[in-house]
């Protein structure tokens, strides 16, 4: 039992956090150059997943990618360290919850730990994304045409493609250039159908997939015989729910933290007739 306690204490120690942070700084410093000079080695992680990437780009170009494996290890260590430290603190706070003058003050004191747990949830989401997401690359949709996906089974049709071109004359080099694109797509499977507008930074969700606009043509107006199309990336990412929830919780924790600071400064009173702590 003593050993377990010692390991638990070691894993959650603040000194370990500092060591991990220091190592991460060194590792990121080492990783800066391969990332800058060989971006082509790292870009495929986004669509082929971490495991397959490791087996191909990762291990074959180890001299450029070793820092990333080390970073993953360090992030895992930091996650364990954060989990242990936060859980330790949370347990103590819960044990001593009666020493707080109000339940709200107790809840507000949990704010940093909520942020820490949220961060862990986001890490978990990214881990799930990199290990379990499926991506369909290079899917091209022509107006009126459909493409079919086998997994998950569905059909996507480009119903309408509207491209706005710059018509002003104040910015000469933007003349006739595309400034916005809206693609109306219809997605259907055996059970349901959805019609939505796809654009840049405006993906379309059709659970469990999301459709993202990567490119489109033509980029300039005028000219003849130029084919109109959109190039989309289709993702099936189970990790996104985790980091969305993580971000929400983190934001909540942040607001609680700021609120607690104001309470401490005396700007707020948390309950009638009681002094702020």
């Amino acid at each position: 039992m003593k050993i377990v306690h010692a390991v638990w204490s070691f894993c959650g120690h603040i000194h370990l956090t500092l060591v991990i942070m220091g190592l991460m700084m060194v590792d990121l410093f080492v990783g800066y150059h391969p990332l800058k000079h060989h971006p082509e080695l790292f870009a495929p992680i986004n669509d082929m997943g971490f495991y397959k990437w490791s087996m191909t780009y990762g291990f074959h170009y180890l001299k450029h990618t070793a820092w990333l494996f080390i970073l993953v290890g360090l992030l895992a260590s930091l996650s364990i360290n954060t989990f242990v430290c936060t859980t330790h603190r949370m347990t103590k706070l819960i044990k001593h919850r009666r020493s707080f003058s109000t339940p709200i003050q107790f809840l507000l004191r949990l704010s940093p730990h909520i942020m820490h747990y949220s961060m862990l949830l986001m890490f978990l989401g990214y881990l799930i994304s990199y290990l379990g997401a499926g991506t369909h690359m290079g899917k091209v949709l022509l107006p009126g045409k459909s493409i079919s996906l086998s997994s998950p089974a569905c059909t996507i049709t480009l119903k309408k493609l509207d491209i706005d071109y710059y018509r002003g004359d104040r910015i000469a080099h933007m003349a006739k250039r595309a400034i916005n694109v809206k693609a109306v797509i219809e997605i259907e499977n055996d059970h349901r159908q959805k019609r939505a507008t796809l654009g840049f930074n405006h993906p379309v969700y059709f659970s469990p997939i999301s459709i993202h606009l990567k490119d489109f043509r033509p980029k300039t107006s005028g000219g003849v015989g130029r084919r109109r199309f959109i190039h989309v990336i289709i993702k099936n990412d189970p990790g996104k729910y985790y980091y969305f929830v993580g971000m929400l919780c983190f934001t909540l924790g942040l607001f609680m933290y700021l609120w607690e600071k104001r309470v401490k400064k005396g700007e707020f009173k948390v309950s009638h007739g009681q002094k702020n702590k």
């Binding site: 500092l18 190592l23 060194v26 690359m137 045409k145 043509r217 130029r226 190039h231």
Partner: protein
Amino acid sequence: MKKEVLAILICSLLILIGCRSDDKQQEGSDTKSEKTSFMSIGGFSVNPIEKGWVEVRDGAGRDFVLIPRGETPPAGYEPRQIIYTPVQRAVAYGSFDVAILKALGVLEDVLVGVTSKKEEWTIPEVVNGMEKGKIAFLGNYNAIDFERLKQCEPELVMTWDMSIIPMVEEMGAACVITTTPVAMCLNARMHFVNFIAPFFNKEKKAQEYFHRVEASLERIRENTRNATDQPKVMWGDIYEKRVLVEPGNAWVGELVGLAQSDYLFDDVFGKSCIEISLERFLFSGQDAEIFFTYRTPKNGATSKAALARANPMIAGLKPLKDGKVYSPLPHYTQSGDRLDEILTDIAAIIHPSCYPGYKSKFFRELPDNDPEL
């Protein structure tokens, strides 16, 4: 706290040592099994998997698996991803792709369609093929005749035009994107042949080509090592509404740097023929000593005066006033199979003193004025 600092230092050393030892391992594995190892080629990749199958990733990030004819396709792939090798009928959009087919020695056997007219070709095998009716002109790249393409019965279409993917796949052929959103660096340009080779089971030929180019690069490095001057080079042109240049990450930019010279668009990053502002182009033009234009004599690059007449804005560029301007000869873009000679040509232009008596094969130095008729 001292312990932590010590731990950080030790781990940093381990990271660095780890990198060093990986280096050695890498070199070892490369020489040991060049043919069977995974290879990243710019945005492309070649990954030999089990049973002699090869998984390839094209310029658009789409995966295909190449399997010998007659074998049962592996599970986990969509039918459009399966390509049987060796491919027997191919269509190529780009002249570099066609030149690579020539380098692999399969051009006459497999090429059945192109997107340039017979008059535009300088590769004898293509001209002959078109004359004999074996190679079809499919229409300009932006107006392909899909009926004719269908008649060609291609198994593989190599293109940069993503819009044709749905139509080609509907025909039952594989459509492979042979360009990437970012310009090919020198290494990718040299290795590109390794991406095309597995489609035709010509890996050995690809290695021969690669070693030839690699040797030429080594000679360039050797020849220009002691060059005393570092000429400033720019590569691009101004068109009616656009200014296009080769970015610093492109093979041209890298080669200029490797040949002990200063590439003036080294800070520009992106695709080949990338658009930049007019001001940026003219700014570099003040210092440049050598200017490579995209224009061929057919497009008006017959002399410096002709270039200046066509576009008065470039008349003030230093190379047009007292430097050198080079224009590619018509066969330059179709000579990818002679990449070693092209690289040597460019190095010789940049450092003529390192290549005494060398006569350029792919570029022409523009005279000040057109000869009087």
